[in-house]
């Protein structure tokens, strides 16, 4: 059997996605039989120059973890796109921006200032201790990649073939991926472009909790404030569970045994563009429902004010479309400015 050439590349990621591959345990054996690794820094000491030396489209499949946070990530994305037949965004960050995209409301300089200038354990030496380049041999300079003003999913930079969402993706998705890989080897066939390797409905479908006929929130609770009834819908208990707006396929990990509300790491449900907005709209609909007259505008406002950190709650894993547009537009302007 011919082996397929696989690469695993990464942008700004935490390492969890790599671990999710290692976590496959015995499943790695059949995988190893059909693949030939071209690049995976966790597994062996591959060099970028080796990848650069490959012919275009020589790698069959590349899994890319993490969003595009620095100029280096963007370069890597372009490099692997060029060298691979199939590019798969692997993990919530790569698919939708993930946790790192929460920094999007701020510019790069604001982020650096917050961390390296105003940080509480910084000394008074001012911004001078921020060094983005240094000379390490006579005349040889080493420069850190540039921190971009945005943190966007892989698809904002290059064309992506498939998406494997999750923070991190789970074993069930790998079973599908292995099918895709073996089918590719045997028949050379691939699923349609843009396929998302996950469920095809929203999360609530696979959640076994009992849903009452009337889901109304009169007081918002955060997970630490309640020991939720494990049999009953979490939304009905006052917790903001992203289930209705999130794609199924995670195997009910959080809402199951963990007894925690869904945070939305599987990204938008099929054909939903703005899961955060949709969920906000749903929450606004059920908050104080049927008591609008009683609560009045003031009461409703107070109720909605109980939602702590709306951006981090509703957009925890996916970049809002509007922010994406703004950031991309800015990046374009900057590029054209630098050309001038």
């Amino acid at each position: 059997m011919t082996k397929i050439k696989l690469a695993v590349a990464a942008g700004s990621y935490c390492g969890g996605c790599d671990m999710s591959i290692i976590d496959l345990n015995e499943l790695l054996i059949p995988i190893d039989e059909v693949i030939e690794l071209q690049y995976w820094q966790l597994a062996a000491d591959f060099k970028i120059k080796d990848v650069k030396a490959l012919k275009d489209n020589e790698i069959d499949i590349t899994l890319y973890h993490g969003p595009i946070r620095t100029s280096e990530h963007a370069e890597l994305a372009h490099l692997f796109r060029k060298k691979s037949k199939v590019l798969i965004a692997y993990g919530a960050c790569s698919c939708f921006g993930g946790i790192p995209q929460l920094a999007n409301p701020f510019t790069a300089s604001e982020l650096l200032d917050e961390t390296y200038v105003h940080g509480y354990n910084m000394d008074d030496s001012g911004p001078n201790h921020m060094r983005t380049s240094s000379e390490y041999k006579k005349g040889r300079k080493m420069t850190l990649p540039k921190l971009l003003d945005s943190c966007l999913p892989l698809s904002s930079e290059v064309d992506v073939d498939y998406y494997v969402p999750g923070c991190p993706p789970v074993r069930d998705q790998w079973l599908v991926l292995i099918d895709i890989i073996t089918n590719f080897i045997k028949n050379g066939e691939l699923p349609p472009k843009g396929t998302v390797v996950a469920g095809d409905k929203a999360r609530c479908e696979e959640c076994g909790r009992e849903k009452p006929d009337e889901i109304v929130i009169n007081k918002f609770l955060r997970p630490y404030e309640i020991n939720p009834d494990p049999e009953k819908c979490l939304l009905a208990q006052g917790l903001i569970c992203m289930g209705p707006a999130t794609r199924a396929g995670c195997g009910n990990q959080c809402t199951g045994d963990a007894n925690m509300p869904c945070r939305g790491c599987f990204g938008p449900a099929p054909e939903v563009d703005e899961p955060g907005l949709k969920m906000l709209s749903a929450i606004a609909s059920i908050a104080g429902a049927k008591k609008e007259g009683e609560l009045g505008e003031e009461g409703l406002k107070k109720l909605m004010d109980q939602v702590v950190d709306p951006f981090g709650t509703f957009y925890r894993f996916a970049v809002p479309q509007i922010l994406m547009h703004i950031k991309q537009k800015k990046a374009k302007e900057e590029k054209s400015d630098s050309v001038k």
Binding site: D213, E214, K290
Partner: protein, 664 residues
């Protein structure tokens, strides 16, 4: 102005016509209609554009129909006034020449453009943009057909006061079967309690009892008293209703109305019908003209329906009409339409502690005074004060008790109190001309034919009207003292009265809330039922086929209640006489492939149109009940709920076009 060479839209095969209306100068003055028509020619799918002086006029509509035929249009955009005005006009015009009427779009360039702007150039630009968004919507519109449903030709009327009685008679006279459900043992409601009616002072019972008797004898009317409606499901034309009929323990077919049971009953309680001023037994008939004419055993006050405890009434009953084994009957019935006429109650005056109602027996309410005036009442029409049964020498009437008091009680005007207090005062003066009669009022509101003159008549008879609201009413020995201020003269007043009659606010009847929950007919801030449109749909609710009439909606006098009863009957008849019912297809639908069954939408639908399919684990929208409001669509986080011809895709494209310039 045909663009002959142009093809229909490639993506959706639409051939769109754009018609820009001048509306005389209304639009044309501020918008360059010719330019708007010219520019629209270049939009995708548009094959015909024109502008005409009055598109809604007969020639305008002819022109529109001609264009549809000659240019083979399958969608049109009319740029004119608000869709609330002429959408239906253009839809039927288009339908008459074979186009699907749901492919007609209105671009409102009058109310939302020409009328509100002063810069012609910018207004024209905006008008064009409005047209563009509608063309974009029209491209993705689908031809729809109204949903049709069979009609069950029966009507349910809840509540048998004068409103319900009138509605039942009208519907029955039109030839439809009516089921009239009343909670108390007899029909007649509050009107049966009244001594006489203003302003003509004719005897209330005398004008009501013929109608009550007609109810009893009308073959089309199925009267169920001592019963409650406990659940309503289904939709217009096909309501499924559960009615709970409580046992009265007396068989109406066997009862001969001999009164033997009443004589032997050992239990005496205050009679509700007499406002508590007279007695009744535990087995009783509320009043002689009661319909159905049968005794009722009041189980709450009876010693116990067990021969070992007391079976005096059963033993006394010659025809063996009394049956202690009667049980509650549950009836499941189907109706085409429902009229709610649940009426009113009086505001609980004991909440107004400064008036001592309930602690001072000589402080009574209007209904109790009616009973004192009534010749069939507890005093046989002689006004005596409850404490010592003496004729009162000074009687004080107080209006606006609990009404027009937004800080403490009800904010609204109870509407009928001014006139009925005038009636009370006048009747009292007639009965006992020497009585000193005072009326405390805030304002006299006696709008209605002959009402103002009626109040003047009372004043001419010597009733003293004082503008001011009593601050305190309290007992002092033999007298009841009223403290007040005359707001016209500024004097402080203290009146020693023998009898005080309060005119409490009319409030929704006790069962209004539960009926609202059962029928999903919404309530206003005070708990009255809410009509679909205050002016144009006064007896319809937001739930199609569900009508509301009388004081269940707001305080009203008898003529208004009767008029509303008839109005609701007419509306019910117009539903029941349809061969089939049609419903606008602009409703929301569930994409079963996307619905995850989170149930978030379930309780939000104001029309009760959403149910849950337990087998498929998805929500289901009932097309007949859905009014297309979109509440569920915005609540659906999975985007599984879609509004027909206003899909997310259409919205997105319209927004895109509307914001196009800014995006550049």
């Amino acid at each position: 102005m045909t663009a002959d060479g142009k093809k229909s839209s490639k993506t959706t095969n639409k051939r769109i016509g754009v018609f820009v209306c001048h509306c005389g100068k209304n639009i044309a003055e501020m918008v360059d209609v010719k330019k708007a028509a010219d520019v629209s020619k270049d939009l995708e799918g548009v094959v015909f554009t024109t502008h005409s002086n009055y598109l809604c006029s007969e020639p305008g509509q002819k022109e529109l129909q001609e264009a549809i035929k000659t240019s083979k249009l399958n969608a049109i955009v009319c740029a004119c006034c608000s869709p609330t005005l002429h959408e239906e006009t253009f839809r039927s015009a288009a339908e008459n020449v074979g186009m699907n009427k749901y492919e007609v779009e209105i671009a409102n360039i009058r109310e939302k453009c020409s009328w509100v702007h002063t810069n012609r150039e910018k207004a024209t630009e905006k008008a064009i943009k409005i047209i563009e968004t509608k063309v974009e919507k029209a491209l993705l519109n689908e031809p729809l057909t109204p949903a049709s449903v069979e009609v069950n030709r029966t009507c349910l009327i809840i509540g048998a006061g004068i409103t319900g009685i009138q509605a039942a008679l009208d519907v029955a006279d039109a030839g439809f079967k009516v089921t009239l459900v009343e909670k108390s043992p007899t029909i007649g409601g509050h009107m049966a309690q009244l001594a006489s009616t203003f302003p003509t002072l004719d005897c209330s019972q005398c004008i009501l009892s013929p109608k009550m008797s007609a109810i009893a004898h009308n073959e089309n009317i199925n009267l169920i008293t001592n019963a409650e409606v406990t659940s309503v499901s289904g939709f217009v034309g096909n309501f499924k209703v559960e009615i709970k009929e409580y046992p009265r323990y007396v068989d109406p077919d066997k009862c001969t109305l001999c009164d033997d049971c009443v004589k032997v009953c050992p239990v005496v309680v205050p009679a509700e019908f007499e406002g508590g001023l007279g007695p009744r037994k535990a087995i009783y008939m509320p009043f002689p003209q009661a319909v159905p004419s049968v005794y009722t055993l009041d189980i709450d006050n009876c010693l116990g329906i067990h021969p070992l405890i007391c079976s005096k009434c059963r033993d006394a009953c010659g025809p063996e009409a009394i049956d202690y084994d009667m049980v509650t009957k549950i009836k499941n019935m189907e109706f085409g339409s429902i009229i709610i006429a649940t009426g009113f109650d009086l505001y609980d005056i004991s909440k107004i502690q400064e008036y001592e109602f309930g602690t001072d027996v000589d402080v009574i309410d209007g209904i109790q005074f009616e009973r004192l005036l009534s010749s069939s009442g507890p005093t046989s029409g002689v006004v005596l004060r409850p404490s010592d049964h003496k004729k009162p020498e000074t009687v004080v009437f107080v209006q606006c008790v609990g009404s027009r008091d937004p800080e403490h009680h009800m904010a609204y005007c109870s509407k009928i109190c001014c006139t009925y207090t005038g009636k009370h005062a006048l009747l009292l003066k007639d009965l006992a001309p020497d009585t000193e009669v005072y009326v405390f009022y805030i304002d006299i509101r006696a709008a209605g034919r002959g009402y103002e003159e009626f109040i003047q008549r009372a004043q001419e008879k010597g009733v003293i009207y004082i503008r001011g609201k009593p601050s305190k009413i309290f007992r002092d020995g033999d007298k009841t003292i009223i403290w007040a201020a005359n707001t016209l003269t500024g004097e402080r007043l203290e009146v020693e009265a023998d009898l005080v009659v309060l005119a409490p606010a009319m409030i929704p009847s006790f069962d209004t809330k539960s009926i609202s929950l059962i029928t999903k007919c919404s309530l206003d801030e005070y708990g009255f039922f809410k009509e679909a449109h205050m002016k144009l749909k006064p007896v319809e609710s937001l739930v199609s086929g569900l009508l509301v009439a009388g004081t269940a909606l707001s305080p009203k006098d008898i003529p208004e209640s009767v008029a509303q009863g008839s109005a609701a009957a007419a509306k019910a008849i117009s539903i029941l006489s349809q061969p089939k019912l049609y419903h606008e297809p602009l409703v929301s639908t569930v994409d079963e492939d996307k619905c995850c069954g989170c149930k978030v939408c379930q309780s939000l639908c104001p029309y009760g149109a959403i149910t849950f399919d337990d087998a498929n684990k998805t929500s289901v929208v009932n097309e007949i009940l859905c009014e297309g409001c979109g509440t569920c669509v915005s609540a659906c986080a999975s985007q599984a709920l879609i509004l027909k011809n206003l899909t997310h895709k259409q919205m997105e494209k319209m927004i895109h076009v509307a914001l196009k310039e800014e995006a550049k």
